[in-house]
């Protein structure tokens, strides 16, 4: 197990190195740099080149990359070219917000998805199952930015019972904090809820067809017991893997959801950095989002081994 974790960590470093190169070159392939964004069209190109030199953007890309990477390895992400703020400080205040939102979305979708999935598998191909499956298809097919706008219209504009924007830290006011994240978390977690539900349903149906379930029923275990103790436990193994990858996706989805609900997370920060071509900020945020994704997946892999005794990492 320890060896496996070390192996995983080693590949994590390689993956991040790869990501850093991809992110670094990709945003430089996009036409227009930060000087164009800030001073374009109206400032003479000579003056703009002077500013590029001032910021070291005129050096060869390899030099710029090595310089940046060298400082990142010392955990120094540098300063934003636009706002002049220290990037690591900014990320440390924003990452918890995104994690809070993703956590709420994950909890909501796991509870909702597993419950509905089990109910559907209890009555396969019946009316309830049909309804649940339809909800699942809709959930998978609905883009979350569209759902988000719809939720705002209904619950904030027309009914006025939930806030449409903003974020209140959990420690400041737990109730208001939860209220402020209900709509974004629901919008963000819908796809995941639908995926979890469908996976639970099919895994349950698969497990329920096994011989040991028949044996359990034959020896007189109550149907409730068959479901909770025998079937669900085994059906949850593939669901757990799915939860791992889907939670990673939530981080990406929060990029858009944070715009719509004005949640001050890392996604909002990344989008602003894209718009203003703020290279160092974008590089740092992308690296953080990617590492979170990879770490969550690694944790899911390890968790898989804990839940399923047949899986051994030697």
């Amino acid at each position: 197990m320890t060896r496996y974790i070390i192996q995983k960590l080693f590949s994590l470093v390689l993956v991040l190195l790869g990501i850093s190169i991809v992110v670094f070159t990709m945003i430089r392939l996009v036409p227009g740099d930060v000087v164009d964004f800030l001073y374009g069209l109206y400032m003479g190109s000579e003056r703009m080149n002077e500013i590029r030199a001032l910021w070291g953007l005129d050096r060869p890309l390899v030099v710029q990359y090595l310089d940046w990477m060298g400082r990142v390895l010392q955990l120094d992400f540098g300063r934003s070219l636009v706002s002049g703020r220290a990037i690591s400080e900014e990320i440390l205040t924003r990452l918890p917000v995104t994690l809070h939102l993703s956590f709420m979305a994950a909890v909501w979708s796991v509870v909702f998805g597993i419950t509905l999935g089990v109910i559907a598998s209890r009555f396969p191909n019946g009316k309830i199952d049909g309804m649940v499956t339809t909800i699942g298809m809709l959930g998978l097919a609905t883009p979350h930015f569209w759902l988000a706008t719809l939720l705002v219209l209904v619950f904030a504009v027309y009914l006025g019972i939930l806030p449409s924007i903003g974020y209140i830290p959990l420690l400041e006011d737990p109730i208001e904090s939860t209220r402020s994240l209900v709509l974004p978390a629901v919008a963000l977690g819908t796809t995941m809820a639908a995926a979890v539900m469908r996976m639970t349903r099919s895994a349950m149906l698969e497990v329920l067809s096994h011989d040991y379930i028949r044996t359990a029923r034959a020896k007189g275990v109550a149907e409730r017991g068959v479901f909770s103790r025998h079937a669900l436990k085994n059906a949850l193994i593939p669901v757990l893997t799915l939860i791992g990858t889907e939670t990673g996706k939530l981080l990406g989805g929060s990029l858009i959801i944070e715009q719509i609900f004005a949640v001050p997370g890392i996604g909002q920060h990344a989008v602003e950095a894209v718009l203003s071509r703020d290279y160092p900020v974008l590089q740092a945020t992308m690296l953080v989002i990617a590492s979170s994704y990879v770490i969550i997946n690694t944790l899911a892999d390890i968790g898989y081994g804990v839940v399923d005794p047949r899986v051994r990492y030697d």
Binding site: L38, Y42, M43, G44, L54, A156, V157, A262, H269
Partner: protein, 536 residues
């Protein structure tokens, strides 16, 4: 207060222009305290305004904007939203009025002693937010910082004619200019020409980016990144009785729809700008008031005058006759733009006028084409980028020009490549939006775009006659003389048509109906926030 009344108010400021500025400030101050609609009241004190409601001080105005505050340094930022915020914190020597003419701010008087020697007299007793008095040394320091090559100041070029700055006394500043430059006073009214306190400036790259400390009506309190930036009332602001609000909260709402919804849900009190698609819906909402109107930015087609067929002024004028502006406004701008039938400066801008040089007349267009040697029409290309209006814009140009026998091939690419082609001259026609709010003086738009040596003269247009007329606008110093100089220059520009001027943009703000006394500025300034008050 609907759009029409707000625009009427803006125009009605005109006659006051020549009054003693101090009197203006006094009249306005009294008017703001006594009446809900100060601009209507100010120019016509004889007809006392009906007192609708008395302005009440206090309260918090929550403003939903298009992004989070990024660069708080007034000298380096070029981001419109940052400018909107910082103009409430800093004062300049002069400040643009609703007609974009310079009004007194820190300077009470200014005078050209000679065409190259400009003297400002400062207001006495104005304090920075840290309590220190603003003096001529601060003015010298601030302007020199803007001109410092190590500070990436976006607007430095607009005051580049400054040769040296003298401070003969604590309250007198003299600018020695390299050449006659009447536009410099208007350019000094740009919010970015903020007067800052030396002690607040840190070495670059931080500079003034970490906080704001000026002498304006509001003081910087805090910036909770991504959530809100808070300004609080400056109790010692030099204009007595202002500001009325206790706090301004600037809340970033990047998503357009989210901005509109937050206003409708009552989670913010004011949004700017309003996405054009939401204007009609918001106007129908009785709890909401929409203001705004023509803006200083204009859109036209830059023509490459160095190559056939657009080297001939007759062909360029033919295009101006051939394109139906109404069609353009409806199809490419959802109806939220003003048609331009001549050069691009229109009221309420002080140097603007509504003289029309063109109308839709396809017969004249065909005749001009025939005279220029294209009796059977011609073929040309239109380059476009991915800017949102470009595609519908190109479609309208294509279908309109087809009616006079001009076949247009649309060449689409990403915006940066298209822009590069424009700069390098690999184009025949290219649609351009010129953001006039950055250039409060007509010189700022016309010199770079249309003079032989202009830095953005990508139309490669050269007309010594126009150059002479535009230079005249810098040599005369009174507003009336300058206005006349630009009227004549614009006539020449209209005849020559290096660009086909098509529309001027509209810009809108929307607010809850309890927000009172807001006035829209055609350069998108938010100066009226110091006069705004909230009905309880």
């Amino acid at each position: 207060m609907n759009q029409n009344t707000s625009m009427r108010k803006i125009r009605s400021v005109g006659p006051l222009r020549r009054l003693a500025p101090a009197a203006l400030a006094l009249v306005m101050a009294v008017a703001y305290i006594s009446a809900a609609q100060p601009f209507a009241a100010a120019p016509a004190p004889k007809q006392a305004p009906k007192p609708r409601a008395v302005a009440k001080p206090g309260g918090i105005l929550r403003i939903g904007g298009e992004r989070d505050a990024a660069d708080l340094d007034p000298h380096t930022t070029r981001i419109g939203w940052d400018v909107n915020i910082m103009q409430n914190v800093y004062s300049g020597l002069v400040r643009a009025g609703t007609d974009i003419l310079p009004q007194p701010d820190l300077a009470t008087r200014w005078e050209f002693k000679t065409p190259t020697r400009l003297e400002f007299t400062l207001r006495q007793g104005v304090k920075f937010h840290n309590g220190r008095e603003v003096t001529s040394e601060d003015v010298k320091y601030s302007l020199e910082r803007i001109l410092d090559p190590k500070v990436p100041a976006g607007y430095a070029s607009t005051i580049a004619s400054i040769d040296s700055i003298e401070t003969p006394s604590k309250y007198t500043v003299v600018l020695n200019l390299k050449r006659p430059d009447a536009a410099i006073v208007t350019n000094l009214s740009l919010p970015s020409m903020a007067i800052v306190a030396k002690e607040a400036v840190k070495p670059m790259p931080v500079g003034l980016k970490e906080g704001m400390m000026g002498s304006g009506p509001f003081m910087f309190k805090e910036h909770i990144k991504g959530q809100r930036l808070v300004l609080v009332k400056n109790p010692n602001y030099y204009e007595k009785g202002k500001p009325l609000l206790d706090e301004l909260h600037f809340i970033p709402l990047i998503d357009e729809t989210a901005r509109t919804n937050a206003l409708r849900a009552g989670q913010v009190d004011f949004i700017e700008p309003v996405p054009p698609k939401d204007v009609s819906a918001l106007r129908r909402d009785r709890r909401i008031v929409v203001t705004g109107g023509p803006n200083l930015s204009f859109v036209g087609i830059s023509l490459n005058t160095s190559k056939k067929p657009f080297d001939d002024a007759r062909v360029r004028r033919a295009l101006a006759y051939a394109i139906d502006r109404k069609e353009m406004v409806e199809k490419a701008f959802d109806g939220f733009a003003q048609p331009l039938l001549g050069p691009p400066l229109i009221p309420p801008y002080w140097a603007g006028n509504r003289e029309t040089y063109y109308k839709l007349d396809r017969e004249i267009a065909k005749r001009l084409l025939a005279e220029a040697g294209y009796p059977d029409g011609l073929k040309t290309t239109l380059r476009i980028g991915t800017t949102s209006y470009h595609a519908p814009f190109a479609a309208v140009v294509q279908s309109e020009l087809k009616k006079v026998g001009v076949e247009v091939e649309i060449q689409a690419s990403d915006s940066t490549s298209a822009n590069r082609a424009w700069i390098e001259g690999n184009f025949e026609m290219y649609p351009i939006r010129w953001w006039g709010a950055d250039f409060v003086d007509p010189d700022g738009a016309f010199m770079p775009l249309f003079t032989c040596k202009g830095s953005y003269n990508n139309s490669r247009f050269c007309d010594p006659e126009l150059d002479k007329l535009l230079t005249k606008g810098l040599e005369v110093t009174s507003t009336e003389e300058r206005k006349e100089a630009y009227r004549i220059a614009m006539k020449r520009l209209a005849e020559q048509q290096p660009w086909v001027f098509l529309v001027a943009f509209d810009r809108f703000q929307a607010m809850r109906s309890r927000v009172k006394a807001y006035a829209a500025f055609p350069n998108a300034s938010q100066y009226s926030l110091r006069e705004v008050w909230l009905e309880k």
